[in-house]
């Protein structure tokens, strides 16, 4: 980091450290708020918790102007392509916070439509637990993210280019699907029998 020189009018540092210090202290969040976490995100930005104290208060609703995506809330399968497109539209260098249980793991919404954690499809730097998390938790995540940015950042962003492999959990487990199909077939056919008008029986799944 910075080395204080004898003359107090200048100091020496590396470009990497200076760039990281500047980036860490002027994060521009992209609020991807889809649920109740979004309300806590708004509270974090408001006067009581005051995200401005950490240099990250400039929320922009255009991804072109942002460098920190905060995914706040559940993401459904119809929204995920939008999320990925917005993430790709953000200029480098950029970071991502997965805020709350739903964004991090799907939360209680373990259904056909809800993505079980956005880290399966986009890279995530920081996870915030909670349902929804308190604003203090989000502040702590941003402070931790600032530490992370300062620790390994380079002027050219070469550390991002090296990360060519997906880092989240695997998006889909084929074994999981196989187990579910088996469970469906175990439902006894007798429960779906219908008696026809002539007294014969048929399975309702087979149609009339």
């Amino acid at each position: 980091m910075a080395v204080a020189a004898r003359n107090e009018n200048y100091f020496l540092t590396t470009l990497d450290a200076a760039a990281s210090w500047i980036r860490a202290n002027s994060l521009w969040p992209m609020p991807f708020a889809t649920a109740c976490c979004g309300i806590e995100l708004m509270a974090t930005a408001s006067s009581r918790f005051d995200l401005a104290r950490f240099g990250a208060e400039v929320m922009r609703f255009s991804p072109r102007q942002c460098d920190l995506m905060i995914v706040a809330g559940r993401v459904v399968m119809k929204m995920l392509p939008v999320l990925q497109r917005i993430w790709l539209q953000m200029p480098e260098p950029k970071w991502c916070i997965s805020m709350g249980a739903c964004a991090s793991s799907g939360g209680v919404f373990d259904t056909y439509a809800v993505v079980q954690g956005v880290d399966r499809f986009i890279p995530v730097d920081m996870y915030v637990p909670g349902c929804p998390p308190r604003p203090e938790q989000l502040l702590q995540a941003i402070i931790d993210l600032q530490e992370k940015i300062k620790r390994g950042g380079t002027l050219t962003g070469v550390e991002f280019e090296r990360r060519k492999n997906p880092e989240g959990p695997p998006p889909f487990d084929p074994q999981e699907l196989k187990r579910r199909v088996l469970r469906q077939e175990q439902i006894p056919r007798g429960r779906m029998m219908k008696v026809n008008s002539d007294g014969t029986e048929r399975d309702r799944r087979d149609g009339p």
């Binding site: 399968m77 392509p81 953000m90 259904t111 056909y112």
Partner: protein
């Protein structure tokens, strides 16, 4: 003349009509072939002028159920405040009903939702597309034989690595 008698005089005796009452619920069940005529009669002759709900239920694993899908129309008489639930049954392999959009324009999106979730087709609907699920979705998710966690649709997306950004 009661609602049931009025319907029976319009549709005839073979229309599989029945009527039941539980607390404040007044319910009419009618055969699918006569459903449109019954709703037309209820709207234009009896005065149930508003369709406040159009939904469906899948009775696949339901004990003693004889048919698969029960499509329910919720009607309201805005002059007297009376409500009436009209239910009709449709079955696989091609559950279909006549669209009631000519009677109530508000049925447009409701029928699209029933089609999206249960695959019940509404013939004569001006624009029968999925309304909630993505266009390319292939199943009908509220059918009881569709698994709760889906068939992998929620995870069928490209994975972005950090270097892709």
């Amino acid at each position: 003349m009661t609602v049931l008698e009025s319907l029976r005089s319009r549709l005839g005796a073979e229309a599989e009509l029945s009527y039941s009452e539980f607390r404040d619920n007044h319910r009419v069940v009618v055969g699918a072939r006569w459903a449109y005529a019954a709703l037309d009669h209820l709207k234009n002759e009896i005065g149930y002028d508003m369709l406040f709900e159009l939904t469906c239920a899948d009775y696949l694993y339901y004990p003693d159920a004889k048919d698969r899908f029960g499509v329910v129309y919720g009607l309201l008489n805005t002059r007297t405040g009376e409500r009436l639930l009209v239910k009709t049954w449709v079955n696989e392999p091609d559950p279909a009903l006549q669209s009631v959009v000519p009677l109530w324009s508000g049925a447009n999106w409701l029928e699209r939702e029933v089609f999206d979730m249960y695959g019940v087709r509404f013939e004569g609907h001006p624009d029968l597309r999925r309304i909630l699920m993505p266009e390319e979705f292939a199943s009908f998710p509220l059918r009881k034989d569709y698994p709760l966690r889906g068939r992998g649709e929620r995870h069928n997306f490209p994975v972005l690595a950090r270097a892709d950004g």
